[in-house]
């Protein structure tokens, strides 16, 4: 038995050498195939483990650097509304508020448009046109956020100040959200830019979700005499509802972490106000603005704490989105 095995290995080594000398000029291996494959497998696996360790290291380092601030402020950090680097007073509530309100507004604006565009590309356009339009939509995702920011500062902000604000004030001015002076730079402008930036994300996932709906189902709805709109409503939107929710949550994850474009147009003032015209700050924007200028260790640590909070929030949101999308694909697949 052992002999047989050995002779097999010998044979295979010979053959391996033959293959080696035929295929490549690399040096002759004296390992059996099993051993080669094992080495290769564990080598690749070790790289995979390296990446997993990277994420763990990332979280660990974030916590480590945020420790001083954690000890100083504890969990109350997330609910303190005073951010005053000069007196070493730090509370993250204004940034939590800014992040949540801009992301929420962006979602409100982006969701109907994204679903509409996804339907438009999938159901209305011919295949060739659909490819072109979807390429354009994906181009939006490719534009660097700094360019969005630049455009936001020099074009969108004046537009919001001079055109959008008067319209909103005259039509909806009785609401507390649309009161106060507008400088162009503030929550509304940031939300508009964010909405534009997350549209490609939501659109592409919605398109994938819509594609999983069987054609038969759509044809059945049409055969029953429904119009295109009714077919889309009954046979497309209803079964893919949870998928759309997943897409929205993924878009939310993207919106929460967006830094540069928001940092440039939101005005960066750690304040909480009901008016959408007023400047605010998000978790990401305050890190971008103050990190290099932080002179006290506590300030730096507090910023890391904000970063950690941001990480936790996006982590949870993304996890939720995966969960929803997985469930959806399971349902359709089964």
């Amino acid at each position: 038995m052992i002999n047989e095995n050995e002779s097999f290995i010998e044979e295979s080594t010979k053959f391996n050498n033959l293959v080696d000398s035929n295929c490549t000029k690399s040096k002759v291996f004296n390992f059996s195939y099993q051993l080669q494959d094992k080495i290769n497998y564990y080598l690749i696996k070790s790289f995979a483990c390296l990446v997993i360790l990277l994420l763990i290291g990332l979280v660990a380092m974030l916590i480590y650097s945020a420790l001083p601030a954690m000890e100083e402020f504890g969990l109350g950090f997330a609910f303190g509304d005073d951010w005053n680097p000069v007196e070493d007073e730090f509370g993250a509530l204004p940034f939590l508020f800014g992040t949540l309100i801009t992301s929420f507004l962006a979602l409100m604006l982006a969701t109907p448009v994204s679903v509409g565009v996804a339907l438009f590309i999938n159901e209305v356009l011919s295949k060739k046109l659909a490819a072109v339009v979807s390429l354009f939509v994906e181009m939006i995702a490719a534009i660097p956020s700094i360019v969005f920011g630049l455009w936001g500062v020099f074009y969108l902000a004046p537009f919001v100040k001079e055109t959008l604000t008067p319209v909103l004030k005259s039509s909806l001015g009785f609401l507390p959200f649309f009161q106060g002076a507008s400088f162009g730079i503030g929550i509304l402008t940031a939300s508009l830019i964010l909405a534009l930036m997350i549209i490609p994300t939501i659109t592409s996932i919605c398109r994938i979700v819509f594609k999983t709906v069987p054609t038969l189902q759509k044809e059945a709805a049409l055969a029953l005499g429904s119009t295109r709109f009714e077919m889309i409503k009954i046979a497309l939107l209803r079964p893919s509802f949870s998928g759309i929710m997943g897409a929205i949550v993924l878009g939310l994850g993207r919106a929460l972490g967006e830094t540069m474009a928001v940092a440039m147009v939101i005005g960066n003032s750690p304040s909480i106000s009901a008016s959408l015209f007023s400047p605010a700050a998000t978790m990401a924007s305050v890190i971008a603005n103050e990190y290099t200028e932080a002179d006290s260790d506590l300030h730096l640590s507090a910023l890391c704490y904000v970063g950690f909070l941001l990480f936790i929030v996006t982590f949870t949101i993304n996890g939720l989105a995966r969960f929803i999308v997985w469930n959806q694909s399971k349902k359709v697949g089964g």
Binding site: I143, I146, T227, F315, N318
Partner: protein, 283 residues
Amino acid sequence: MYLKYRKLKNLIFHFSLYLCAALVLIPLVLIIFFVFKMGATSINLDFFTSLPKPVGEDGGGMKHAILGTLYMVSIASVISIPLGLLCGVYLSEFGKGKVATLLRLTIDMLTGVPSIVIGIFAYITIVVPLKSFSAMAGGVALSIIILPIVCRSTEEILKLVPGHIREAGLALGLPRWRVIFNIVVKGNLSSLTTGVMLAISRAAGETAPLLFTAFGNMYLSYEIDEPMASLPVQIYNYAISPFDDWQRQAWAGSLVLIVLVLGINIFARTLISLKHIKFRYRG
């Protein structure tokens, strides 16, 4: 009468779909138009070949930032592309078991980590021990950003390779690693290149992780352990400055950046679609 009402609803619905598409495409066109309009007036040969001049003097360019971006993207690519490819291979070829599940989760989570948080990580792990902002830190931050993109695209592409191709390789008597690298990976190099290029175009446009890792400077530097300028950070610094000339240069920088990023992006996409066309004609 009722049918008319339904048809009307259908019409309104279709109209609103067109409106949605317009709402998305108009800002895109506006952004590109604006960048080209503002950038074209301030871009010239000087912009590519000279360094910034002191405030008040006209002229000067962003040679250092353009080179810096290329330099740091190269560092990121050198780190991330092999690692991302190997992880993608692991997921598609040995994608079962605890490690693979964990890796998939990790990649998902890494995709979702805000880039500014990755910047903090690079700051803590590289800038603090070295006591200096450095191109190395910037490159590492960018590499963490593109790693999940490379890995994900590799996995998706290799998963599409039909099983019988692997079996054919094994039947020829090749060891498995040979099958993986010489047949599966080599045969899909052009698709894999597309994924890699998309990742690179992403890295070239990132600002947030470079703000406090590579930091930026105003002179030409090739040192890996010194601060290095990059196009996005330079644009940011110029855009928030009060000087007209600098703002003008920010637009020129944006034009270069957008042409670079969208150029790579579109090139990569056409590469893959051309390949599909070729396959179709082959039958």
